[in-house]
Symmetry: C2
């Protein structure tokens, strides 16, 4: 009867949805992937998901006790339990927590990918023990999860933490948000591609990147070119790091964090990105902050189950913050979480 | 024996230090001002201050019970209780809380002017009931107090909240901090004077402001000129509001606050400043934040004892957050605060 407590983590992506069971130490007991089919209503995704999960869980429930469900999704709001008009989804505004409650009477929480990564990092990763840090996700766009005093900052409406949409260049590059000059138009997988095209137009240097169309260029190609010594590719990383370092200096002036953690594809470029970020952050910091702010890459990211761990971590964070709880403590916390819903 | 509980608030300024007794409802029972003599050691200020206070308090202590001491000072650190190298003070690094403990065995807390104003606003003013807001002080410089989930954000080292030192213009105006383009070089009493001088150089319009030297121009003169229809003065307010509105749009993208509260001399310009701030904030907000963020002026500021109320409020905030506490609750809280020290 000494079953292991696990959380069902669900990571909803534009193409696929991954779900699985994770204990409070980050051990994954089960993992499965289904197509999201984002053009169809959200109800149908959860219908397929829970049908598959319930069938699989029958073989696991003698040894595992499900204590909660954590969901990571684009445009998700922690306060309301909703996902709101994510781009590339045909969902509109969907109350995910409510849908889940039709299947399970368990604590269920949802938040966006960047906050999930920040919490995952606190519960399982680099940020264990850190109370004040900023996590930056570098994917197609730039997401951010801000942690103050050990908690994610959700702001007044659940939508805080959009550092990717701070404007860093007046009348700068057009952003998908409808404005111009947002940080993510410069610092993201797509941003660095745009920078390469600017550089190819300005410079005469030979570059392997001249062989690619805008549509075929990827940040991975730029990374490979940079590592093989391509000047344009290296310059693109230097410029991207400079933009991010300078923007983060302004974020530090707001929040004075202990660390900034980089997560996602571009962060895997390692020193190519981190070195200029550190340099330009440090150069642009107000003197009282100089030498105090660490810049690190995510350790959660190294796990093949990073997204799953992140999604599960939001429940573990609320239940015990990484500490082992007795069953009675867990029951009390569970009850409170239910009220929170 | 039913004495009223009061906090000794101390506001240390470059020229004068004001101190007085304030109850949890913001009623002031006593107030006195002495010269700071910032060129002499801090110990001497507190020696003079407590000598004066103790002598005065003899006549008050039959009806008032002193429960704590709150200090507002430039470059003060809440965590360490220190004041660190404030400009125009010959103090170096001084542990104010330690000095106070040599006189009184009472909870003592210190923080900087902008945080004091933010807490004062929460306990006594416009921000009562607000959990997420940003307070901006517009004096010679631009200070900021950031409140998240009902608490001031101090960051990892006690030095968070320097929005005045976010860089808004690359290679912009020289700042006293040694860098260039900081927000406070544009948006502050001195910033608007610099803007007027730029405008006088560019435009040909007649202006009463052409009669003043750089050293004699004040933000008050600009305000009076603007109200009497001076074009340059009005343009200077428009530009100042635009800079602040745009910068705050980036702060909102970090924190999603319910409100932004303006405090200090320039904020008294009323619509001259608030109107362009609101306009440019709103225009530059990411769509999810549009129409959500109030811009208001401080109501604390209207009290002639604003600085005193602010200084006292940091103790009342810790003791009871504006709620009336029973004596036993107060004793427990007091004990905890002592441990906090």
């Amino acid at each position: 009867m000494n079953s292991t407590q696990v959380v069902l983590g669900i990571d909803i992506g534009g193409t696929n949805t991954v779900f699985g069971l994770v204990d409070e130490n980050g051990k994954t007991y089960y993992k499965r992937e289904i197509p999201t089919e984002a053009n169809l209503p959200a109800d149908l995704l959860f219908l397929r998901l829970f049908k598959a999960f319930n069938s699989d869980f029958k073989n696991l429930q003698h040894e595992l006790e499900l204590v909660g469900i954590g969901v990571g999704a684009p445009s998700a709001n922690f306060f309301t339990g909703t996902i709101e008009n994510p781009s590339n989804f045909n969902w509109g505004r969907v109350n995910v927590v409510k849908i889940i409650s039709e299947y399970y009477s368990l604590p269920a929480l949802v938040t966006n990918d960047a906050n999930i990564a920040a919490i995952g990092e606190m519960v399982y990763g680099t940020a264990k023990g850190l109370d004040n840090f900023i996590l930056i996700t570098l994917g197609t766009g730039l997401g951010s999860g801000i942690v103050v005093n050990g908690d994610v900052v959700y702001g007044s409406d659940g939508f805080a933490g959009e550092i990717g949409h701070t404007i860093v260049e007046e009348n700068g590059r057009h952003c998908n948000c409808g404005r111009k000059g947002c940080l993510e138009t410069y610092v993201s997988a797509s941003g660095i591609c745009r920078t390469v095209f600017e550089l190819l137009a300005v410079h005469n240097d030979k570059s392997i990147l001249r062989e690619f169309s805008f549509d075929s260029l990827t940040s991975k190609l730029i990374q490979q070119s940079a590592m093989s010594g391509d000047k344009i590719a290296n310059l693109a990383f230097e410029i991207t790091g400079e933009k991010l370092g300078k923007a983060l200096a302004n974020s530090v002036a707001h929040l004075s964090p202990e660390a900034i953690i980089l997560f996602g594809g571009l962060a895997l470029s390692g020193d190519l990105l981190i070195t200029p970020v550190k340099k330009h952050l440090e150069e642009n910091l107000l003197s009282i902050y100089k030498g105090k702010v660490k810049v690190m890459t995510s350790s959660l990211m190294e796990s093949e189950n990073a997204a799953l761990l992140g999604a599960a971590s939001i429940i573990w964070k609320e239940l015990g913050g990484g500490k082992t709880l007795s069953n009675s403590e867990l029951k009390t916390k569970n009850a409170n979480l239910h009220q929170l819903k």
